[in-house]
Symmetry: C2
């Protein structure tokens, strides 16, 4: 399944802000097919102003019931907070539902129930399976827009990155660290640190101390510049006269 | 790190609905330490009515700047949409940031910038690393409440389930399926299906057809009851007289 064959079906959503938020999350994760089930078209009208959601909302379709909304879908997943109801369906954690959704060959529908009541038993009967977002306490409902965002994030989680991350700065190489270490040792000696704290100047201690800094190559150059300046100042004849 | 030592830091959040949504997501995923940075305390006051967010909001702390907000944190992760800015930090995909956050021994802060501008360069300078939620297009911002929900979902994703999923119904055993298959064959023979479509009645074809149904044990009993009734009706003497 590609995101092009995924439909988000909001059943009896009442709050326009939630419909707008769902559409914005769809836009973020590259899903474009929004379907609204219910008599109330007002939320759709009111939601059209949501940021980044405009094309998804403009293309949203409305249906009188769930049967019509999922007529062209070969896998229908209902979302549930695992409340007190006795569920007859197989229930997957979201992370386990994602591979099933991705493996589907035809259109997949993700059904989200109304803010107050979730999906009714009648609406659930159109679902092949249910999925649940694991939370700290069971039976608690998520905000509708957030639930849509979390589900689409999970489905998109393994997708190849559309945008390459900035390259991590190069770490300092061993020879850079050796140079840094010698300069540090020289500087500390010039400051007579080695007379006061000889134990801290042991070769192993110093080497480990420097490695724990996890210096980048560029930063090592900067630090060495500072050390050289300090060392130069420490060796100024004026200092010995103080 | 447990969720008890995770802090969500909202920097200059302006929309009370977003603050409320962030608090609700925190409540959903068991995170309780909310910190707000900025001059504007009005969002906090206005957000206190968000569903399920009350205890989190009641305990929220306010700070004048990022430095104070993260003073007790040993790992500070900033969130970014990877815009046009030239970032100096190492950037992780959310899924790769999660294990680092979980591995931290002390308090971890997740920083979210304002709705309009994200985190400023000054605010970013307090971060050890950045994380980004991979989206269909780069550089697009998510809704603040949804971004918090997605991040906390990812951190909670591998947590042991707090609530056991309903047990999947037992699948029909081989012997159940054999009985079902014999009864089906008997019924089809009584209906003279085997004379019209003899190819479909081959032993292998029939066995595979039955296995593809993925019947549960309980449902097999129901279907067999139907078949027995049909078979009985087919064998009524009245039928032969029609």
């Amino acid at each position: 399944m590609s995101t092009a064959s995924l439909s988000v079906v909001l059943v009896r959503a009442r709050n326009p802000l939630n419909v707008g938020a769902a559409a914005r999350a769809m836009s973020n994760f590259g899903v474009s097919d929004l379907r609204l089930v219910g008599e109330y078209l007002q939320p759709l009208e009111a939601a059209r102003s949501a940021i980044d959601a405009a094309p998804v909302l403009a293309a949203a379709q409305t249906f009188g019931n769930v049967a019509e909304a999922v007529a062209d879908c070969s896998l229908v997943y209902g979302t549930t907070a695992l409340g007190e109801r006795d569920l007859q369906h197989p229930v997957d954690l979201l992370r386990d539902a994602a591979p099933r959704v991705r493996a589907a060959q035809d259109r997949v529908a993700l059904l989200f129930g109304s803010e107050k009541t979730g999906l009714s038993n009648d609406e659930l009967s159109y679902c092949h399976r249910l999925l649940t977002i694991p939370m700290a306490r069971g039976g608690v409902s998520m905000n509708l827009g957030q639930a849509v965002a979390v589900c689409l994030y999970e489905l998109h989680r393994e997708a190849p990155a559309q945008r390459t991350l900035p390259e991590a700065p190069a770490s300092a190489k061993g020879e850079d660290l050796q140079r840094f270490e010698s300069l540090l040792r020289e500087t500390l000696a010039a400051a007579e640190y080695d007379r006061r704290f000889p134990g801290n100047m042991g070769a192993n201690e110093m080497r480990e101390l420097v490695r724990r800094l996890a210096l980048t190559s560029a930063d090592t150059t900067v630090w060495m510049g500072m050390l050289r300046q300090v060392l130069w100042k420490l060796r100024q004849p004026s200092r010995s006269r103080e």
